[in-house]
């Protein structure tokens, strides 16, 4: 689960073997163990903590989406809260007005947010760096008011109350744990898709555009196409997260998708590790728990505590938690492997 960009290299499996198994196999076993742990975890926690962790995973999916755009492709977005809202309202409207079952609302939300992202990505091609940040900022600012404006569909300021989905009968598990498992499944699929995309040809193209757009274009990379693709994929992920959030929280209203949400995603992305996949989970944890912790530490100035936490993270780990630890762990693993390989050959 915590594969980082550098840990997955083509040379990794040849590095050595432990106890008769290749490093690649061990990585699979590790990932499998983590997944099993994640599946078993909710049964040892209270329903409230399960709910909290579900939110963490939802934020992780959103941050993962932003990582594709900002981390790998270098396009800064301050407006992903708007796409999160678009996903949430797609799910809410389908469930509320059309009686679509909750699970069937996620693919339409993904599709709509992909299209929105591509459409938004086309004009965004003309903007770079801070200018793009401003354009996306406008999106985040406009969204809550747009939602109030189209109140025939969105329920205006009152929002839309959703009927909470029931777990399948006969499974004998409650709603919170069921939704946790659903969201976990989506998160795993999302991470798998992101890994496939980013660790291959597309990922290299995106990184090349980020690092040196002119050189990338000279090498034959279709810059515009890849940038638009990055935008669409990114908003697709974030939109899926939004749909899941609407399902889990059971309510949507414009106040839930303020500018602060968009900024939270960027913060989560930077803290977790901006061009990493595992960093999204750290980002989700940060978004969910740090504001609450800040509130517990100081009623009077939670914003100051939150800001301080952010500063500490960025000073101590400028490349984010996974961005800083990931390569270190990978290097240590390789060294151990080489050491053992050397030892055996003697």
């Amino acid at each position: 689960m915590n594969e980082s960009a550098t840990a997955v290299g083509t040379d990794a499996p040849t590095a050595g073997r432990y106890a008769g198994l290749s490093v690649g196999a061990w990585r699979w076993i590790g990932a499998l163990a983590l997944i099993v742990l994640a599946v078993v975890l909710p049964f040892g926690l209270s329903k409230y903590h399960v709910f909290e962790l579900t939110l963490v995973m939802i934020y992780a999916i959103a941050v993962l989406g932003l990582n594709i755009l900002t981390g790998y492709n270098g396009q800064i977005s301050l407006g992903h809260g708007a796409f999160f809202a678009a996903g949430a309202y797609t799910a809410a409207i389908l469930m509320h007005y059309y009686g679509v079952p909750y699970w069937a609302t996620v693919p339409p939300a993904a599709l709509i947010c992909f299209v929105l992202g591509v459409l938004f990505g086309l004009p965004a091609l003309r903007f770079e760096g801070p200018y793009l940040a401003l354009v996306t900022l406008a999106m985040a600012l406009a969204m809550p008011q747009l939602l109030k404006y189209f109140d025939n569909w969105t329920g205006g300021q009152q929002g839309i109350n959703l009927i909470k989905p029931l777990p399948p009968a006969g499974l004998g598990i409650d709603r919170d744990r069921w939704l946790y498992l659903v969201v976990l499944a989506v998160l795993l699929v999302a991470m798998r898709i992101a890994a496939n995309m980013l660790h291959g040809r597309t990922g290299r193209a995106l990184v090349a555009i980020r690092d040196h757009p002119i050189a990338a274009a000279a090498m034959g990379i279709h810059t515009a196409r890849y940038k638009t693709l990055a935008f669409g994929t990114s908003t697709l992920f974030t939109g899926v997260a939004g749909a899941l959030a609407a399902i889990v929280v059971g309510y949507v209203s414009p106040e839930g998708y303020s500018l602060f949400l968009s900024i939270s995603f960027l913060v989560g992305s930077a803290v977790g590790g901006i061009a990493t996949i595992g960093g999204a989970i750290v980002g989700g944890l940060f978004i969910q728990f740090v504001p609450n912790l800040a509130n517990d530490i100081s009623d009077a100035a939670p914003g100051a505590v939150y800001g301080l936490a952010m500063l500490l993270f960025m000073y101590a780990m400028p490349r984010g938690v996974v961005g800083s630890f990931g390569p270190w762990i990978a290097r240590s693993m390789r060294q151990i492997a080489q050491h053992r390989a050397g030892f055996r050959s003697k």
Binding site: G156, Q158, V249, P302
Partner: protein, 407 residues
């Protein structure tokens, strides 16, 4: 009987006694209540766009501190857990779940805001947790049939507008009414309430309506067009910024309607001073609480008590901020409900007592305004009194008018 059987019987009996003991205790206490403590949950916008209302949560904390210092309620101290939701509904859901499931509060008291309350209404009713005296002006909280665990507090926008309608019907029977309202639920509630107050005359009397969006720069063109309709009564349902614009424009174009202004924008400091106080002379609004800046109350016993409490327990609060009056009043009401619960502090009984208030007079309420509820009436305050702006402050006039439905 073998030794083993005796033991089994003994254990079973002991278990039964223990269980009945527990059952007895559960009859007396719901979650969060003990012999020494009543745990109460609250969500408030201490941060975010509505953080000005955070003063309410601080006032409530200060009020319960006073109650605890005076010995609590029937010997039980109030443990008031007030958490920030930043006025973000998803956060409210999370915070309320934490209060109910982790902190195990007896009930949720005075959570702030229409969207946050809408977000938690289903959860709290499903779990039979009281959502008591919610801090919002929407009308939907008085629905005991569908949401028996949710109860309102202040007069809703609709109740207020009904009062204007009833006043117009009685005193200005030939009025030609124009309405300027914000194009959302807040504004629309005024139009609905006004029509209800006017009854079957509504279609005849209301001759023009105009809306604005909160994103509009001004409401000047709307005012001009309403004047053009020939109306002689204007009802403005606008938030402070646009209310001030409306007052100024009406004056500047020389229009002299009988102007009714929503209670939301009745602040002298935030609306009338920016508009120019002389331009607002004669405007009518409605109130149910005492304005702390109004000099006519300075010798009233309840105002003196409130001021002493502000100085001793809520010293960081602003004396001119009506939110401190609000928090004080609603906390007083809760304490009366808890006193009435006696030693039966279950969620059911809290709700039962809250729905059984008859003609209670709260502190800092206008004379004649009383609080009443019943199992079919979950709107505690339904009366208001009209007031007229004299260029400096509000002057009450006429009698207390009920805006309850049906009457």
């Amino acid at each position: 009987m073998t030794m083993k059987q005796t033991l089994a019987w003994g254990l079973a009996t002991a278990g039964l006694v223990l269980a009945s003991g527990l059952a007895f205790a559960a009859g007396q206490y719901g979650p969060g209540a003990t012999d020494t403590e009543i745990k109460i949950g609250n969500t408030e916008a201490y941060s975010g766009p509505a953080s000005a209302y955070g003063a309410i949560g601080k006032a409530e904390t200060a009020y319960f501190n006073m109650i605890n210092e005076q010995g609590g309620i029937n010997g039980r101290k109030i443990n008031f857990i007030s958490r920030d939701d930043g006025y973000s509904p998803p956060k409210t859901v999370e915070v309320v779940r934490k209060l109910v499931e982790e902190d195990q509060v007896l009930f949720i008291f005075n959570p702030l805001g229409t969207p946050p309350n809408t977000a938690i209404q289903g959860y709290l009713n499903d779990n039979k947790v009281p959502q008591l005296f919610v801090a919002t002006g929407a009308d939907k909280w008085n629905d005991p049939k569908h949401f028996p665990w949710t109860m309102g507090y202040q007069p809703s926008y609709r109740i207020e507008a009904r009062i204007y309608g009833r006043y117009i019907l009685k005193n200005l029977p030939n009025a030609k009414i124009a309405v300027l309202y914000q194009n959302d639920d807040f504004g629309k509630d005024y139009l609905i309430g006004l029509r209800e107050g006017l009854g079957d005359k509504a279609d005849k009397l209301i001759i023009a309506t105009q809306t604005y969006e909160t994103t509009d720069p001004t409401v000047d063109s709307q005012i001009v067009s309403l004047q053009g309709s020939g109306a002689d009564v204007l009802l403005t349902a606008a938030i402070p910024k646009f209310a001030a614009q409306a007052i100024r424009k009406v004056y500047d174009i020389g229009w002299k309607p009988t102007h009714f202004m929503t209670n939301v924008s009745s602040s002298v400091g935030a609306v009338f001073k920016p508009a120019g106080p002389e331009k607002g002379i004669g405007i009518i609004s409605a109130a149910y609480g005492k304005d702390p800046t109004d000099p006519q109350w300075k010798d009233a016993p309840d105002f003196k008590e409130w001021l002493a409490w502000m100085k001793k327990y809520n010293a960081s609060g602003n004396i001119a901020d009506a939110n401190n009056v609000y928090g004080y009043g609603v906390s007083y009401l809760l304490v009366q409900v808890l006193k009435a619960c006696g030693d039966n502090l279950t969620r059911e009984n809290v709700m039962k007592q809250a729905a059984n208030i008859h003609g209670l007079t709260g502190p800092m309420a206008l004379p004649g305004i009383t609080i009443s509820t019943s199992p079919t009436d979950y709107a505690p305050i339904k009366q208001m009194q009209l007031e007229k702006f004299d260029g400096n402050t509000w002057q009450l006039f006429g009698e207390v008018i009920s805006g309850g439905s049906g009457s």
